[in-house]
């Protein structure tokens, strides 16, 4: 137009703060508080049928014969189907990705056809008028099995005397080796070498809402609508389309309220695919909800590892090298589409993370077993990598007689050393290890705790302080999955629409499972556009409505989805000002949007409420210049481009008291100082951290999926599998350092998984610190009383 446009902000400021940084309560929480959530199992449909699955009682068995003759006659039964019948409607999949060199896995069907490969694998489906009737009929299915040798032990699997999938040659799903070179020389010359082997118990997510899917095929249109408790509706849209043979745009995936997920509900489950296939076959809606017993048998498990770790350092305490040999047993199939190789791969990438050593060698094997399948679960490989790193670091500090916090300080990458490339190849934009450590030690009053510990030791009260420093992968680019050929989107989009009354609708492809996605999008959108939060409505989880995107995983919602919302908000604001300028017949540069009104930028005088702008823009465009069209809906997408992964850092501490007579660990307190860049809603961020910490505590002290030698899950119920409950959990103190990423205007990194990543390591170190005067160490999680008493020698 000629005249210079007045900038919206002073140079150097990133954005109008608005609601950014405020602990706003979540608008979409209020209906949940009144029991007015809409979880998938709450939905009612005409002609809705229910499916229950006949599941293999054996870990490994050929299905010789299935007899449905009694089951089909049971009351309410619509049909009973085997793997072959379902395979006519659903093609199999193979969970491999090109960038995980050498990864292999056999094809997997929705319902097993030739053989069952784990106890709990679905081998037949019963569809009936009610779930109860379906279960009654499942009890009438008769099967003739030929039991096969089951591979259960990870060493047995690696040795490969019995190969689960003979066509693959061995039981190795994936292996990786990494070597910076110079490792042997470094260890040979080091003043101190410490070595320890750590065990991590297989465990699982235990989402309170079971996996849930309601598939509704419409034969008249050859279209499929799936109400699915999933984190990634677009990914599922693509998968249903390709495997069920329905055109992509004729598949709509709608995600209503999800009762917890933590990664469990981001994977493809054969029983869910079978449910969708059955809806297509039967031409009516079919629902499946995994009950708790099924969940333990068939929700993905995770994190079973045995890792041998070595650390070389000087006598002055400078870490020179790490070496890792990790073995991790998964189930009989790599899980689709993200593969079961990623967790182990991450352990290799992240071991030693906070430190400035240059030499590193790692060897890692992912092996098949006839236990339940495993895949990504909150924080993926981080809990393993952080725990083994921080434990061996503590051990080295202990052997040198150095304070563990000081040992870390000596070795952490300096805060001004960025950008930095780590020995495993990962790149850090900017971290703040030293600032976070300083803040942690002040927050917990470290010296006072050490003094108390010393005084109590004299009275035979054994307290322990454990620290765990960590790095965390967030905001991943296509480097995680896309480069390997997966149709998993690492970009997200947001559409913002100004409504005629001046309200704002935000539609975003990132999803909500309770972490507060919709709340922060409302905060960002309101701030970017200039409206108050009560005017904003957010829609997520509907492939028919939102832009195309990746959904929730790898702590990307705020950083990627939030950025898309911000960009769209700014663009919409600009378009709104175009309309306002046309209405008011003034220069756009003189105007701004603030508090639900168009205002004069300099005087802040209200020029027009947004409702008036909406009225004219939508209902009276005839009053605007002939060549002008109001565009009050804007979509923007965002992909992080500069860094494959935007790393964050944090440090946690655990204070425990161990009873050496009973082996019970009392958690006295926990701290976390985290740097996730721009904090959009401090309350929500802290609550994510707290929830994550308690999940990590579960792994450290309580949770383990126990299998016997024949592959039977021994504790697959809520009484025998122990999850953290309120009385045993500590208060958790959270604080932050903010180092925004420069890759986006928002500057937000991710934080959803941080708590889980660091807590197991902090608790392990605390327990070992408590036991140290008694010359005992524990290295195998969970640290049950049994393991602690044995380490103490109280039990033979």
């Amino acid at each position: 137009m000629g005249r210079a446009e007045l900038p919206l902000h002073a140079p150097g400021t990133q954005l109008d703060k608005g609601y950014i940084g405020q602990s706003v309560p979540r608008p979409n929480a209020q209906r949940l508080l009144q029991g007015r959530g809409a979880f998938t199992d709450d939905l009612r449909f005409p002609r809705l049928a229910h499916v229950a699955f006949f599941r293999s009682p054996h870990a490994h068995a050929r299905i010789r014969k299935l007899d449905f003759s009694k089951a089909v006659k049971a009351p309410g039964v619509i049909g009973v189907f085997d793997g072959r019948a379902v395979a006519e409607y659903c093609t199999p999949w193979v969970a491999v990705l090109a960038h995980l060199k050498g990864i292999k896995s056999p094809p997997q069907h929705a319902i097993a056809i030739e053989r069952a490969c784990w106890q709990g694998e679905a081998c037949a489906a019963v569809v009936a008028e009610s779930r109860s009737q379906a279960e009654d009929a499942v009890a009438l299915v008769e099967a003739d099995w030929e039991e096969l040798p089951a591979v259960i032990d990870m060493d047995e699997s690696l040795a490969g005397r019995t190969v689960i999938h003979p066509e693959l040659g061995d039981n190795i799903c994936f292996k990786r080796e990494l070597d910076t070179g110079g490792v042997d020389e470094t260890f040979a010359k080091a003043d101190l070498v410490v070595e320890e082997t750590y065990g991590f118990g297989r465990h699982t997510g235990v989402c309170l809402e079971g996996r849930a899917i309601l598939a509704d095929y419409n034969a008249g249109e050859h279209s499929l609508t799936v109400y699915h408790a999933t984190q990634a509706p677009h990914m599922m849209q693509d998968i249903f389309s390709r495997h069920l043979g329905i055109p992509e745009a004729s598949v709509r995936v709608i995600t209503k309220d999800v009762g917890g997920s933590y990664g469990i509900k981001v994977h493809v489950y054969p029983d869910e695919m079978a449910t969708a296939a059955l809806s297509v076959m039967l031409r009516r809606p079919v629902k499946f909800v995994a009950d708790r017993l099924e969940s333990f048998l068939s929700d993905i498990h995770a994190r079973e590892h045995r890792a041998k770790v070595r650390l070389a350092c000087t006598k002055a305490g400078e870490i020179l090298a790490f070496e890792l040999d990790d073995l991790t047993p998964i189930g009989p199939y790599s899980v689709y589409p993200r593969t079961s190789g990623i967790e182990g791969n991450q352990v290799v990438n992240l071991t030693g993370g906070p430190y400035k050593h240059q030499k590193y060698r790692a060897k890692m094997h992912v092996v098949f077993t006839n236990k339940n399948v495993t895949c990504q679960y909150r924080a993926v490989g981080h809990p393993i990598a952080v725990a083994l790193t921080e434990a061996i670091v503590d051990l080295a500090a202990h052997k040198l007689g150095m304070d563990p916090a000081e040992f870390r300080r000596k070795n952490m990458i300096p805060d001004d050393a960025y950008p930095y490339t780590f020995p495993s190849g990962i790149k850090f934009e900017q971290l703040s290890h030293h600032q976070t450590l300083d803040k942690l030690l002040a927050l917990m009053d470290y010296k006072k705790l050490r003094d108390e510990q010393a005084a109590l030791r004299k009275k035979k009260v054994y307290r322990g302080i454990g620290i765990a420093a960590m790095i965390e992968v967030t905001n991943p680019s296509p480097a995680f999955y896309g480069v390997g050929g997966a149709r998993i989107s690492a970009q997200d989009g947001a559409t913002l629409r100004l409504e005629p009354t001046g309200m704002l609708t935000v539609m975003c492809s990132v999803t909500e499972q309770g972490q507060g996605t919709e709340a922060i999008f409302a905060q960002i959108a309101a701030s970017a556009v200039g409206v108050s939060m009560d005017k904003v409505r957010v829609i997520t989880g509907d492939t028919g409505v939102t832009p195309y995107g990746g959904g929730t995983w790898a702590s990307r919602g705020a950083g990627i989805g939030g950025e898309a919302v911000l960009l769209a908000g700014r663009a919409l604001r600009s378009n709104m000002l175009d309309v306002a300028a046309a209405i008011l017949k003034v220069d756009k540069a003189e105007l701004d949007v603030r508090d639900n009104a168009v205002v004069h930028k300099l005087t802040q005088e209200e020029k027009m409420p947004l409702a008036e702008l909406g009225r004219v823009g939508y209902f009276r465009p005839d009053t605007l210049p002939p060549d002008f069209q109001a565009e009050l809906t804007v979509t923007r997408h965002y992909t992080p481009r500069q860094y494959g992964f935007t790393f964050t850092n944090g440090v946690q501490a655990s204070l425990v008291e161990v009873d050496p007579d009973t082996g019970l660990v009392k958690l006295l307190k926990h701290w976390c100082v985290e740097d996730c860049g721009t904090v959009i809603n401090p309350m929500l961020v802290d609550e994510q951290i707290r929830g994550g910490v308690v999940q990590g505590i579960g792994a450290a002290l309580y949770e383990e999926c126990l299998y016997d030698a024949s592959g039977q899950l021994l504790n697959g119920n809520m009484a025998d599998y122990l999850v953290p409950m309120a009385l045993e959990m500590p208060d958790i103190v959270c604080a932050h350092i903010e180092t925004p990423t420069r890759q986006s205007q928002l500057g937000a990194k991710g934080v959803g998984e941080a708590g889980t990543a660091g807590a197991p390591g902090a608790v392990m170190n605390a327990v070992n610190d408590a036991l140290s005067p008694l010359d005992a160490r524990v290295t195998s999680m969970p640290f049950t009383p049994e393991r602690i008493l044995r380490a103490l020698g109280r039990v033979a």
Binding site: T662, N715, A719, T784
Partner: protein
């Protein structure tokens, strides 16, 4: 999981209840806090559930001279709130907070707990420690069974087909009696890893362990020992605790000794 189908009857009188209970494949429904989970998980499939919650004569707590009589349908919550129990049976009151959680305690009953005889449950051990008398009714009349004779094995009691546990009687604790209740569990309200209901009266100790065998066990050798160290040593003769999912047999025995030590000075 959804329960398999069954028929349901709610008798209004004890006689009718006894007739129904005698039917083949019938199960008694009292609080349901143990029965219904097993039905939901299809671990058991009775043909008939006999709901005895309408039988008022099975409710109530009464002090009769020096005997406290607790009706089988008395809930854990009511036992915990009862002034009679607080005053005369402190051991039982001490056990209540360890039994599951408030919502379960509002429905679960002492009769159900005793009749189920879960070896990791609190009341069977308390009954054994206090030398309680279990009152059992059938068409033929009433029987009194001493706790020591009642618990026969894993989920196995002296109850015969056609019999209903209708009440349990305890001698009120006397002035010089001492009791101690200790339970170790990984989380509040879980079934015990191991527990000890201990009662000292007239110079004798009754040490009833739970979670230490297929039924609550009186540690008789340990109870007769002169001092703590010999009691701990003697415990190996009393208990051969089976391993559970998380604890070896040796660990259970060790923990039993720890509880003994912690209870000893109270007694």
């Amino acid at each position: 999981m959804k329960a398999a189908p069954f028929a349901y009857a709610k008798p209004r009188a004890l006689e009718e209840a006894l007739d129904l209970a005698a039917r083949p494949n019938a199960k008694i429904l009292a609080g349901g806090q143990s029965l219904i989970p097993s039905l939901n998980m299809r671990l058991s499939s009775p043909e008939l559930l006999v709901d005895i919650n309408g039988l008022d004569e099975l409710k109530g707590i009464r002090l009769d001279k020096d005997t406290v009589r607790i009706g089988a349908l008395t809930t854990h919550a009511d036992i915990g709130k009862s002034d009679v129990v607080k005053k005369h049976l402190p051991l039982l009151v001490a056990a209540v907070p360890h039994i599951a959680h408030p919502a379960i305690r509002n429905r679960g009953t002492i009769g159900g707990s005793l009749a189920l005889a879960d070896p990791a449950a609190e009341y069977p051990a308390c009954a054994l420690a206090l030398d309680a008398t279990i009152v059992v009714t059938s068409r033929k009349g009433q029987r009194q069974i001493k706790a020591a004779d009642f618990f026969k094995g894993l989920f196995e009691t002296a109850l015969k087909p056609g019999e209903l546990l209708t009440a349990v009687e305890f001698k009120a604790q006397k002035k010089d009696d001492e009791s101690a209740f200790l339970e170790l569990a990984r989380r509040q309200g879980d079934y015990a890893t191991i527990g000890l209901a201990a009662f000292a009266t007239n110079g004798t100790k009754r040490l009833a362990y739970f979670g230490a065998g297929d039924r609550p066990i009186l540690a008789q050798y340990a109870a007769k020992a002169k001092d703590l160290e010999s009691a701990k040593a003697a415990l190996a003769k009393d208990l051969q605790p089976p391993a559970d999912l998380y604890h070896s047999s040796a660990t259970k025995l060790h923990l039993a000794r720890v509880l003994l030590e912690r209870a000893w000075n109270t007694l």
